[in-house]
Symmetry: C2
Subunit: 413 residues, 2 copies
């Protein structure tokens, strides 16, 4: 994509009321636009990042036989009354509105009840289980405060998966396979080394709930980590964990962390509350076992920004970057022709390129390349033209090389 | 995809309160699930159809240099007050809700004002124009009645594009290029022959608004069509049209039709109301010219169902079908092996297949294939095995052929 064609522009400052680093950088670099506190639009570049993250998650959910669908924002009150979760004292993030006839309806903050209600129509027998469905849904949550940028929005994109099983054992097996799928997701997103399945409240690696936490200074949580043993403990259960796991408190490193995923085992609770059953092998009615698995897609995007950004701007891992190459053109006609040619070549090779074809100072182009965090910058200039070479710079390390065309192609492909 | 793995099942009946044919068929075939009146979830099969329609639209919007982004559902009151459209007497489909501090907010039913407000940040000079952005957004509209299935939902998916220009002339040129893009969209969706740009209220092919109407018995509009001259006139402006176009009333055919797209030329009205300007060539502040272009994605899906369905069920055009082939397996081990092999072969060739691998009566499988509307049915059976052949049936015509493997591959690819 030619930068001259993008309607977004970088800017030196973010809105004064924006205190989160992730949103400040994403706004300055032209990835998001702030509509109101906790509510952000995603520009063409931001949407590409979101779609890249979604595609990684989608592929891994498909590996565990998840079937993608899309539920609804509008929710009938009755769906949530059966479990008590319509009550604002039980769930304090509901946005509610009403139809013309004053029927009260809710805006989905989650979908467990909605999924169970729908499944009632299709799942009649133990033979119809297990089944697993997921969606990428825009969730609306009426958060009291929204000061963490896209890490905690009032409107955000979530991947939520729900698995239904005929037995607790079958659920456990599947639940563990999703833990592995989540590990693959975070590894592919560049967060693998610093993301832990945590020892959270509810007992030793409880079967009732797990969090995935990424070490990150902007995180809202405190984690005690034993990197060698690959153990991470939430602060609130530190004493229990020390006792239970027999670990030495002094070997634990205290770090700030951000939740990047959470999974819940509801057992047969929802099924029983909602009175939704299937026929068992013995021909009797039995409850359905349910687990849910969330990844905040926009939240993960925010964590990636917070974690890897440096003083110059964003640093995207290659797997999520909106383009692999930022092509800078400096100089006269010959350089323009050479850059145009390289742009066409790279596109033909299927490589996404942001081509800075603007008439701007070199310094401004380099600064934008850095702010926008594109993994590899390639520069074509009159000076480089003399030796028929290209300047190649890695965003994450700053390492720069002067390369021949052949070397450039080898290194980029 | 193996049908045994799909959680959805076909059914003989739709919910009693569902009066629209499109929703009845889509529910029975397992494409949508009704959450409440005018609010439908899309199952894995339904989501595929939606994504196919979106992809056709996306490709054509990209041809006219549209840049895809995603705006927000939650909208501040202030954005819409500047143009008077926050008022429920002016816009009677708002869903509204409030933040914890009782700040009133709206749920987006459209995005003109939101786009203009965002663009204010990026578009400063005539040099930044023209620019065109679009999104696939879930819109919420508080419709008084919702009895047309997915053709008029309270929650639905819309492609809305917005183009901004420095002059009325530039807008007109672009506007006409979008009309051509829309024609390509409907042609690719199989609706081309029966879709017209209509002579609507506001004068002869007014520059202020155009509708795209598809001849369809389930439509809510009445159209007078001159097929030879490729002219269609909305009922309410029939007299004007006859006078203006000099056509003979008797040559016009009266048909029912459904709106499948509409485009509006706002001129500089929004810009002036919202006080958003750019610097002109002469260095003065000048207004921005705005047009918007909508296609209801879910609505189009409903129109396609209504238009092509027959007494056996849905008939998808190939461009939107969730799979190209419905593979029916009948018989014993040898047939199973042969069907498995064909399934693998077709998948390898990149052809989407719904493989009916269930232990069901042949009649039930054939009925499901027809209800679900997959373009081509291929049957493998013990009897066909004897002659090493396949039965191939076209859903739209019912035409059946017995083919060799080579013939089958030729006809499907």
């Amino acid at each position: 994509m030619r930068i001259s064609q993008l309607f977004t522009k970088t800017s030196k400052s973010a809105p004064a009321d924006e205190v989160a680093k992730n949103a400040q950088l994403l706004i300055r670099a032209g990835y998001v636009y702030k509509v109101m506190a906790g509510v952000y639009a995603y520009t063409p570049l931001g949407l590409r990042v979101l779609e890249n993250i979604k595609q990684v998650v989608r592929e891994e959910m498909n590996v565990v036989n998840g079937q993608e669908l899309i539920m609804t924002n509008l929710q009938p009150k009755e769906t949530w009354q059966t479990t008590g979760r319509w009550d604002d004292d039980v769930v304090d993030v509901w946005f509610k509105t009403q139809l013309k006839d004053e029927t009260e309806i809710g805006l989905a903050w989650s979908h467990e009840e909605a999924i169970m209600e729908m499944m009632q129509q299709f799942v009649k027998s133990y033979k119809d289980l297990p089944t697993s469905v997921y969606q990428f849904q825009t969730k609306l949550r009426n958060e009291l405060r929204a000061k963490s940028g896209i890490m905690r929005g009032r409107e955000f994109v979530m991947k939520d998966m729900y698995s239904l099983h005929a037995s607790a054992d079958d659920l456990d097996t599947y639940y563990n396979s999703v833990i592995e799928a989540y590990k693959r997701v975070y590894a592919r997103l560049g967060l693998g080394d610093d993301t832990y399945v945590t020892f959270a409240s509810g007992g030793a690696f409880t079967k009732f709930s797990h969090e995935f936490q990424t070490i990150c200074d902007a995180g809202e949580d405190i984690l005690y980590v034993h990197r060698e043993k690959n153990i991470a403990v939430n602060e609130e259960v530190l004493e229990d964990a020390i006792a239970e796991l027999g670990i030495d408190r002094n070997e634990l490193e205290k770090v700030k962390s951000a939740e990047v995923g959470n999974i819940f085992n509801f057992g047969s609770e929802k099924s029983e509350q909602m009175n939704i059953t299937v026929t068992s092998k013995k021909g009797q009615q039995q409850p359905i076992y349910l687990a849910s698995y969330g990844i905040g897609i926009t939240r993960v995007m925010g964590v990636i920004v917070e974690k890897f950004a440096d003083e110059k701007g964003i640093v995207w891992p290659e797997s999520v970057a909106p383009a692999k190459v930022y092509l800078v053109r400096i100089g006269g006609e010959a350089s323009i022709a050479k850059a145009d040619e390289l742009y066409a070549d790279l596109k033909t090779a299927g490589i996404e390129v942001l081509y800075d074809d603007r008439d701007e100072r070199p310094g401004a182009k380099f600064a934008d390349a850095e702010l926008m965090g594109i993994p590899y910058r390639v520069t074509v200039s009159d000076r480089l033209l003399e030796s028929d070479s290209y300047e190649y710079t890695v965003r994450s390390s700053g390492e720069t090389q002067i390369l021949t065309r052949e070397q450039l192609h080898d290194i980029i492909n």
